[in-house]
């Protein structure tokens, strides 16, 4: 909800000569009880005048001004934005100035209300009109929004559109790295990282980037093993190539380190399960690290069972999930070994 600024300088529309011939149109909403609050009067008057102009389809400068005032009072009203676009087109307006206008609206909005589809869609329409020249400005704009809320979904969506439609990929990976340095838990930044690595025309694609990306990811995991995002990112790097995931010594090694440290090991155990179901042959150290986490001193027991028992204990909210994995991983692992022609080996 927008916080309206006290507009002591505002002249009511009914007193402005340039709107003298406009007959305001009230919202047809049913019976009208009393209106106790003064700023609702301002709002109501502005919308009544807007409706008059809208119904008359008047695409003039004063129409533009009305949409400006209506938007400032309520940036969520999509009909006003749409009419504004019609007026801008009719007036052949300066699109750079329009970006200035949107900047102003966003700045004037209380925290949380730039999460409004209308503003972003309007921005995109304006930028589309400007073409590739707008790329730098739009990347800067989203950067500003993200500096206040680094997970702002609309800003990220806009930024992705800008990169693909208007270009500007050069510094994007560096930008992701900066954001992750600020907050290694920022899932949006991890997502953007994947976006850049897989889609940037300036990088070599996932194949070329994988090794360096794995190293970065593993470092992030070591910093905070409880961080969900890099674990998923790691799996993403090996999408469609689980053999390579299983064979990558960095992956097994990071699991071992975390399990040995006995701290924040839930995701490490979960990764171990994933490895096991794809045919991973755990070393003795890994086995011992797992047994070391278990109360029941389960030496020599089925590794999958032990891992899942630990997880059911330390992550009880998802106990059913871990129970399910306990049942299914051995079957998946057996299938994998069979596919590799390695039957007879046990876990």
């Amino acid at each position: 909800m927008d916080v309206l600024q006290k507009s002591s300088e505002r002249i009511p529309l009914s007193q402005r000569p340039e709107y003298a011939d406009v007959k305001p149109v009230p919202q047809d909403d049913g019976p009208n009880p009393i209106v106790p609050i003064s700023y609702t009067d301002e709002f109501r008057e502005t919308m009544d005048y807007f409706r008059a102009i809208y119904v008359a389809d008047e695409r003039s400068l004063r129409a533009l001004q009305l949409t400006t005032e209506a938007i400032k009072l309520n940036p969520g009203n999509y009909t006003v934005w749409q009419f504004r676009r019609l007026v801008l087109e009719a007036l052949n307006a300066d699109m750079n100035k329009e970006l200035d206008f949107v900047d102003g609206i966003v700045e004037g909005i209380v925290e949380g209300n730039s999460k409004n589809y209308q503003i972003w869609h309007h921005r995109r329409w304006v930028a589309e009109n400007l073409g590739t020249d707008a790329s730098t400005r739009e990347l800067e704009f989203t950067k500003t929004i993200l500096s206040k809320d680094a997970k702002h979904y609309h800003a990220w969506s806009h930024r992705q559109w800008v990169l693909q439609a208007l270009g500007g990929w050069k510094d994007e990976l560096t930008y992701c790295e900066l954001l992750l340095k600020d907050d290694i838990f920022n899932n949006s930044a991890w997502n953007q990282r994947y976006f850049v690595v897989t889609r940037s025309p300036l990088l070599g694609g996932l194949g070329a980037m994988r090794e360096s990306e794995v190293t970065c990811t593993v470092n992030a995991i070591m910093e905070h093993p409880e961080n969900e995002s890099p674990w998923r990112y790691l799996r993403g790097l090996y999408r469609n190539d689980t053999h390579a995931l299983v064979k990558d010594p960095q992956v097994a090694s990071v699991c071992l380190k975390i399990l040995t440290a006995k701290n924040n090991y839930v995701h490490a155990l979960s990764m171990l399960l994933d490895l096991l179901c794809h045919g991973f042959q755990p070393s003795l150290e890994i086995r011992n690290a797992v047994y070391g986490l278990s109360d029941s001193g389960a030496q020599g027991s089925d590794l999958v069972k032990v891992v899942c028992s630990i997880l059911e204990l330390v992550d009880p909210m998802r106990a059913n999930y871990w129970k399910w994995r306990r049942n299914i991983v051995p079957a998946q692992a057996a299938q994998c070994l069979k596919d590799d022609g390695l039957t007879g080996l046990s876990l």
Binding site: S188, R199, S229, R235, N320
Partner: protein, 313 residues
């Protein structure tokens, strides 16, 4: 554990609907149709739909329809897919879908499908998987799915699938529980759930449950009652709801009630609104909280309403 303050919530909703000049009502006037859907569906789940003047609502709503067949968010507002779905859903609640010129509405919706299978929200061209969902649910309820290219629609949604099994608003966009609901519901309704990696997505979804028992929408974000709907319905549609702790979630939702004045908020102690009241009640229904009507996880309408549409009385 607390209880659901049904009478208070009903009173809250009926008051909101009457207070057309409150500040909230006035600033939200352009999405009043959405508000009507949230309010009325909640009332129906609570067994109190009959407290509303059906004719008044329907007659107001039909005035929101345009020549094109689409509905605007209120009288005098431009048509958009979002409000068109809300209109269809409200008419479904009242068993009045036949008040519509079904061909006209479905032509409006079908006309918004793009070449790549995606849907624009309206003539201005914003594309988002939310609109794919809304278009598909609308046409399914109208029994006119044949008016669009379903295969292309499905392919577009699948192109928005991410490495974590989730879905974003466009290809490459971050997985988000709201978008996931939209994609999974659309795939469910078109018989295309085989495109979903249910185990992978189920795990991502069950990881949304945080210590308080509430659900967030993305990793490392705060829980919010509305995710009780989006995450939960998605889990139900892919058959993995047993992977979360239902009791803890019920407790979280109940803690978000304003037991004195009615209504449910996004988090405990925050201000209530009709949006979160709907999602809280709908979430509790999915969790089989006693005394509530069952709700369909894909259509977001009571099951008896959906059955009436697809299987007759």
């Amino acid at each position: 554990m607390g209880e659901l303050a049904v009478e208070k919530h009903v009173k809250f909703i009926l008051t909101i609907e009457k207070e057309k000049d409150s500040f909230e009502s006035v600033v939200m006037e352009h999405i009043r149709l959405n508000g009507a859907y949230w309010a009325l569906t909640t009332l129906d789940i609570l067994g109190k739909l009959n407290t509303v003047d059906q004719d008044e609502v329907v007659s107001w709503m039909m005035q929101c329809q345009h020549e094109s067949g689409g509905f605007g968010g209120n009288i005098g507002h431009d048509p958009h897919l979002l409000y068109t779905l809300s209109a269809i859903q409200v008419l479904a609640l009242f068993d009045k879908i036949d008040a519509l010129d079904i061909d006209k509405v479905s032509n409006y919706i079908a006309g918004l499908q793009n070449n790549d299978g995606s849907f624009s929200g309206d003539m201005w061209g914003e594309i988002d998987t939310r609109f794919s969902c809304v278009a598909i649910l609308s046409l399914a309820l109208l029994k006119r799915l044949d008016k669009i290219n379903v295969e292309k629609a499905v392919n577009y949604i699948v192109s928005c699938k991410n490495l974590d099994g989730g879905f974003g608003c466009t290809p490459g966009a971050e997985s988000h529980a709201g978008q996931i609901f939209c994609c999974v519901a659309a795939l469910a309704v078109t018989g295309s759930l085989h495109h979903v990696d249910k185990d992978l997505l189920g795990w991502w979804l069950c990881e949304r449950q945080v210590k308080s028992g509430g659900l967030n929408g993305r990793p490392e974000k705060l829980p919010d009652v509305c995710y009780s709907w989006w995450v939960l319905s998605s889990l139900i549609m892919i058959d993995r709801v047993h992977w979360i702790d239902k009791e803890k979630l019920i407790k979280f939702i109940l803690d978000c009630q304003d037991k004195e004045n009615g209504g449910i908020s996004d988090q405990p102690e925050d201000a209530v609104d009709v949006f979160h009241t709907y999602f809280g009640v709908a979430g509790l229904s999915l969790l089989e909280y006693p005394g509530l009507k069952a709700i369909d996880p894909a259509y977001a309408l009571p099951v008896d309403v959906v059955n009436r549409i697809f299987f007759g009385r």
